[in-house]
C-alpha cells in the first residue's frame, strides 16, 4: 500500500468502516510509515477533541467577518489559487469515474466528429490554398535559385566571350548570336513550363540540358 491510498483510508479506519483485510494492510503500512502515522494521529486527535468538547464552543460574534478573515489568511498563504483551482478541476475531471450510457457515448462521439469536421472545413476554407501556394512558390524559387547559380557561371564566360568577340569574323559572330538565341529560347520555354508546373520532370530535364548546352557553347566559343 502506498501513502496516498493510506491517507484516503485513514478516515474509514478511524470510523471503523474498513474491512478486516484492508485494516490489516493499513496498520502494517502505518507501522512502517511515520508520515502516515502522524496524519492518523492528528486526525484522530481532532476527532477526539471534537467528540469530547461537543456543544462547548460558542459561536463567534460576527461569523461573516471571521470567515472573511480566514479566507484572507488562506489566500495570502496560497498566491496562486487559480492554478490550485484548475488543478483541482482537472483532478476532479480525470479522477471522476465516467460512466456513460450508450446513447450518451454515441452523442459524445457525434459531437466530437462534428467539431472536428467543422474545424477542418473552416481551416481548409481559410488556409486551404496557402500550403499549396507556398510549396509552389518554394519550388519555383528553388528552380530560380539553381538558374541564378548557373547564370553566375554563364556570366563569367559571357564576359570572356565579349573580350574575344572582336577578333571573330562577322559570320562567326552572327552564328554565335543565332545559336545563343536558340538556346536562350529553350531555357526560357522550360522555365515558363516549370513555373506553371513545378513538378514537370521533362521541363526540368530540358532546362538542365539547355543550361549545360549554353555553358558548353560559351566555353567552346571563348577559345576562339
Amino acid at each position: 500500500m502506498n501513502c496516498e491510498k493510506c491517507q484516503e483510508l485513514i478516515h474509514d479506519l478511524i470510523d471503523g468502516a474498513l474491512s478486516r483485510s484492508d485494516e490489516l494492510l493499513l496498520n502494517t503500512h502505518l507501522q512502517e510509515c511515520l508520515d502516515c502515522e502522524n496524519v492518523r494521529q492528528d486526525l484522530s486527535s481532532i476527532l477526539t477533541y471534537c467528540q469530547t468538547h461537543r456543544g462547548e464552543y460558542e459561536a463567534p460574534a460576527n461569523p461573516q467577518a471571521m470567515w472573511l478573515r480566514i479566507r484572507n489568511v488562506v489566500e495570502a498563504e496560497h498566491p496562486a489559487p487559480q492554478i490550485a483551482r484548475t488543478r483541482s478541476f482537472l483532478n476532479g475531471f480525470f479522477g471522476r469515474s465516467w460512466e456513460l450510457s450508450f446513447p450518451q457515448l454515441a452523442a459524445f462521439t457525434a459531437a466530437v466528429v462534428l467539431c472536428v469536421s467543422l474545424i477542418t472545413v473552416v481551416g481548409l476554407r481559410r488556409w486551404g490554398t496557402g500550403p499549396l501556394e507556398t510549396t509552389r512558390q518554394f519550388e519555383a524559387s528553388n528552380v530560380n535559385d539553381r538558374v541564378w547559380q548557373r547564370q553566375q557561371v554563364i556570366n563569367y564566360w559571357n564576359q570572356r566571350i565579349e573580350l574575344n568577340k572582336v577578333r571573330w569574323s562577322a559570320e562567326m559572330r552572327a552564328t554565335f548570336d543565332r545559336n545563343l538565341q536558340v538556346i536562350d529560347q529553350a531555357v526560357s520555354q522550360s522555365l515558363n513550363e516549370l513555373n506553371r508546373n513545378p513538378h514537370d520532370e521533362i521541363s526540368e530535364q530540358m532546362l538542365n540540358e539547355s543550361l549545360n548546352d549554353k555553358l558548353a557553347l560559351l566555353k567552346e566559343f571563348s577559345d576562339l
Binding site: R167, R178, N179, A186, E209, S210, F221, L224
Partner: protein, 266 residues
C-alpha cells in the same frame, strides 16, 4: 495637232551622240574594272591552300579532329592507312596533324591560337573501316560513312548538319545546336547511342529487327516511332517516350528541343 518629238526625225549626228558616245565612255570605265577583278581572282585562288598527307595505320585507329569552321568528311577505305586532305581558306591558317601510335590528332584550334580568324578549313579523311573518330567543329557540317566496330562522335557546337551513313559502331554520339542529324546504320548489342539537337530534325534509320532501349524526349511533342512503336512504351503526354524495342540490348537516347524525331525502318 503637230507632234514634236525627239525620235521623230533622228539625224546621223544625233544617233552617234546618243548611242555611240555613252557606250564608248562606259567601255573606257569598265576596262580598268575588269582588269582589276581579273587580277584579284588569281590572288584569291592562290590564297587557298591544299594539303594531303598519308599516315600508316593499323586496324583499330583513333582519329581526333578539332576544327573551328568548315566541313568534315570521313569515309572508310580498304587500305591500312589514313589519308588526310584539307582545303585551307586562309593563308594564315596552320594545320599540323600529329600521329602518336595508333592515334592521329588534328587540332586546328590549338594550332592557330592567337592568329585571329582563320576562316574555313574543310577536311576529308579516308580511314580504315574499324577506326574510331572523334570529330568536333564550332561550325560546319560533318559527314561520316561506312565505319564499323569503333566509336563515332560528331559534335557541332553551333550550327551544322550531321550525317552518319552506314555506321555499325558500338558507341555513337551526335550533337548540334541548329541543324539536322541523320543516322543510318545498326545498333550493336550493348552499344550506346546518343543524338541531341536543340533546333533541327533527327532521323534514325535502322533495320526492323533492331533491339534497343529508347529514351526519346521532345517538348514539342514531335516524336514518330513508326514501326518501332509498341504498347510497352511509356509516354508523358507525348513529350517523352521510354520503352524497349525487342530485348532492348542497346541503349538509345534522343533529345530534341524543337525539331522532329523520326525512326525509319530500313
Amino acid at each position: 495637232m503637230r507632234e514634236i518629238g525627239f525620235w521623230k526625225s533622228p539625224t546621223p549626228m544625233k544617233l552617234s551622240y546618243l548611242i555611240l558616245r555613252p557606250l564608248a565612255r562606259a567601255g573606257l570605265y569598265a576596262l580598268p574594272a575588269v582588269m582589276v577583278i581579273s587580277c584579284l581572282v588569281p590572288v584569291q585562288c592562290q590564297a587557298q591552300q591544299k594539303m594531303s598527307k598519308r599516315y600508316p595505320a593499323g586496324k583499330n585507329v583513333r582519329i581526333s579532329l578539332k576544327n573551328i569552321s568548315g566541313t568534315i568528311v570521313v569515309e572508310s577505305w580498304k587500305k591500312d592507312e589514313i589519308r588526310l586532305s584539307a582545303t585551307i581558306e586562309s593563308p594564315n591558317a596552320h594545320v599540323v596533324p600529329k600521329q602518336v601510335d595508333e592515334n592521329l590528332v588534328v587540332d586546328v584550334m590549338n594550332d592557330n591560337r592567337g592568329r585571329g580568324d582563320v576562316g574555313d578549313v574543310n577536311f576529308k579523311l579516308q580511314v580504315p573501316v574499324d577506326s574510331s573518330v572523334d570529330l568536333e567543329t564550332r561550325r560546319g557540317n560533318i559527314y561520316v560513312s561506312n565505319l564499323r566496330s569503333g566509336s563515332v562522335r560528331a559534335h557541332v557546337s553551333s550550327e551544322g548538319d550531321i550525317e552518319l551513313s552506314n555506321i555499325n559502331a558500338s558507341q555513337v554520339v551526335a550533337q548540334n545546336t541548329i541543324g539536322n542529324i541523320f543516322f543510318d546504320g545498326e545498333f550493336a548489342g550493348g552499344g550506346t547511342y546518343e543524338f541531341k539537337s536543340t533546333k533541327g530534325d533527327i532521323t534514325i534509320r535502322i533495320p526492323g529487327n533492331s533491339a534497343f532501349r529508347l529514351v526519346a524526349a521532345s517538348p514539342a511533342k514531335k516524336i514518330a516511332l513508326g514501326d518501332f512503336w509498341n504498347n510497352g512504351f511509356r509516354t508523358q503526354d507525348g513529350r517523352k517516350y521510354v520503352g524497349d524495342v525487342g530485348d532492348g540490348r542497346s541503349s538509345v537516347s534522343v533529345t530534341n528541343f524543337s525539331g522532329q524525331i523520326t525512326f525509319l525502318r530500313k
